[in-house]
Structures are given as structure tokens and as C-alpha cells.
Symmetry: C2
Subunit: 224 residues, 2 copies
Amino acid sequence: MRTAFHHQLDALRRSIADMCDLTGTAMAQATEALLGADIVLAEGVISAHPDVIVRATDIENDAYTLLLLQAPVAGDLRAILASLQNVADVYRMAALALHVADTVRLRHPCTAIPDDIKPYFAEMGRIAVDLSRNARRVVLSGNAEQAAELAHDDDAMNELHRLVFTILMDRKWSHSVPAAVDSTLLSRYYERFADHAVKVGQRIIFQATGSHGGQPQLERHHTA
Amino acid sequence: MRTAFHHQLDALRRSIADMCDLTGTAMAQATEALLGADIVLAEGVISAHPDVIVRATDIENDAYTLLLLQAPVAGDLRAILASLQNVADVYRMAALALHVADTVRLRHPCTAIPDDIKPYFAEMGRIAVDLSRNARRVVLSGNAEQAAELAHDDDAMNELHRLVFTILMDRKWSHSVPAAVDSTLLSRYYERFADHAVKVGQRIIFQATGSHGGQPQLERHHTA
């Protein structure tokens, strides 16, 4: 039987899924802005961010209200806790997309990254958008197999992150130090974006299988 | 009246406080290793990290068990949720200290950062250790005023982070691109370390005053 509580929990999940959509759109636009030094697109991402903050805060408040008023137990309690943690991760993803847009605005009318490494950032952007879409899907479905796919995209992102670093660290780097500094941080933003999407996936796996898989909330360890 | 539940909650808080200690020690040693290119100290931080993972996982499991078996409500529920979120933040701080140590090991026997910016990193390290100590204190005391002090240290850290960036972005930067890339990421690690300590403080304020102060779990927005 679906109780009022479960309808509210579903509404919570749909709101988080909507946030995944907004986050994916923000990262798509931020990446396009980065590749084209497009200030209009960058400012679009920046001006859309307050709405993300409001939504995240609303979702948190709704989750707390559900917890405090309904005092759910066992699986229902786990589900709300997971929602609370998921919204924090998706919010952080949106903040990282905002960081990309902020960098574009800061460097405008110059481009923040040199032309020859743009293809890597284009690919990181594509993977980030894909991760947002998959995070949305698993938040709604609760499907552990779909959630496991997020880790594949994360592996691809880490590979690109390492590749960008190899290029930056190479003596053949012919661009300026500021361009290297910007590229370093931007690459890190994409890599962290992926890490947070993976955490959403891990949590879904935990909920579906009851298995911590070692560490549910704790992140896998990466170095840049 | 103190129930068994409250004793367990106290034990949880003490365990998190112990993790703050370990994290502060890790960051102190990682910073000393960074300043002196000291591989032994760096490897000490790296080899101590698995214990931090085990502790964090144990604390999470204990918190989940308390939640599921005791089904606390209202303030007790909030307290456990805060503990779960605090342990995730303190764990992340430890992971950032580990990133510093990893960088030292990666560059050994060279130093990762040029001598002339070492004083800024020494100061960032000092503030990070101070933040760990204060996070420990507020986790144990639950004191909102003490928790608010964490934000002051964070302001100082952000100021140093900006300063390092100004130096990196300056045409007068005479060091290599790889040194700039390492300095960029290292500075970011310290800055993020402080952000997570602040989140612990914000949560204590929320618990003590019931006031979200806008956004309890959501981070304040920084750009590099």
C-alpha cells in the first residue's frame, strides 16, 4: 500500500531528479561557454544558480520535515537519509558547474583554456552531462545496475583528468602559466563533478542491496 | 535523564572528535612534509590513512545502527544526522591532507612548491590545524559561539588562497608551469579543507539554535 509518506518520498525524489536536470543543463552551458568564451552563456549559468540554491534548500527542508513528523523506520528512514545526502551531492555538482562559468566570466574576452586542450574539456563536459542524466535516472528508478554504470563514466572522466595533467606537466606546454592554472582547476572541477555523481550511484546501490560496498558515503580516494 | 541512547550518542561524538585529532595531525605532518620535501613524514600520513577510513566507516555504521534500532525523534534525530554528516566532512578533510602528502611523495626528491611561496603554505597549514582543533572542540561542546569562530579561520584561509592565486597569475612568476600546477591544486586542497570544517561548525549552530542560517548543509559559494 502506498501511504501519504511514500507519495511525499516520491515527490522528494522527483525534486532531486529535477535538480539533476538543472545541473546537467548548467554543466552543458558552462562547457559550451568555456569552449567558445561565450559570456552570455556563462552569465546564464550564473544567473540560474540562485534557483538551484532555493530548490536544494526546499528539498532539504521537506526531507527534514518528513523525518521529524513521520519518524520513519528501517527502509523508509534509509530512503530519506539517502535523499538528504543526494541533494547535497547534486547541489555540489551545480556549484562546480557554476565555478566553470565563473572562470569563463573572469577571463572574458579571453578564453580560459588554450585551443589545443579544448577537445579534452569538450569530452569532460559531455561525460559530466551524461553523469547528470544517469544520476537523474537512478534517483527515480532506484536501480542498482543503472547506478553501477555511473562508475564507468567516472573512470572515463578520471582518465581525461590525468591526460590533461600529463599535458600541463609536459615541458612542451607552450602556453602561459595562468592558462595552466586555469586548466588545472577547471579539470579538477569536472573530475569532482563526476565524483559526486558516483556518490549518488553508490547510495542507490546501498539502498537497493543493503551492501555498503565498503564505504557508502565516503568517497573513493583519487589524487589529481 | 541520560538514557543509553544518549551515552551512545556521546560515544559517537567522541569518536568524531578523535577523527578531528587524527585529521589535524595528518594535515600538520603533510604541511611539514610539503615545506621540507620530507618523504618520511609524507609516507607517515599516507600509511595512517587506512585507519581513518576504518574509523569513519565504523562511526557511520554505529550511527546507522543507532538510527535504525532506536528510531530517535526530534532533537535526538537531528543530532545523529549531524553526526553522520560531520563524519563525512571530517573524512573529506583527512582525504585532502592525504592529497597534500601524495603530492609530496609524487615530487620527491624535489619540492612541490617554490621556496618563495612556502610561507603562505605554512600559514595555510597552521590555519588548517587550528580548524581541526576547533572542529573537535565544537563537536564535543555543541557550542554555537565556538562554532561561529570556525568561519573566521575560513576567511583567513580564503584570503591566503586568493593571495597564492594572485602570485601564480602574476607575470613575475619565475617558476615552472608544473610548479604552478602543483601550487594551484595544493592551495585548493587547503581551501577545501577549511570549507569542510566550516560545514561542521554550521551544523553545530543549526543544532544549537535551530536556525538554518540560510543553508545548513549547502556550502557557501566560493570561487578560486
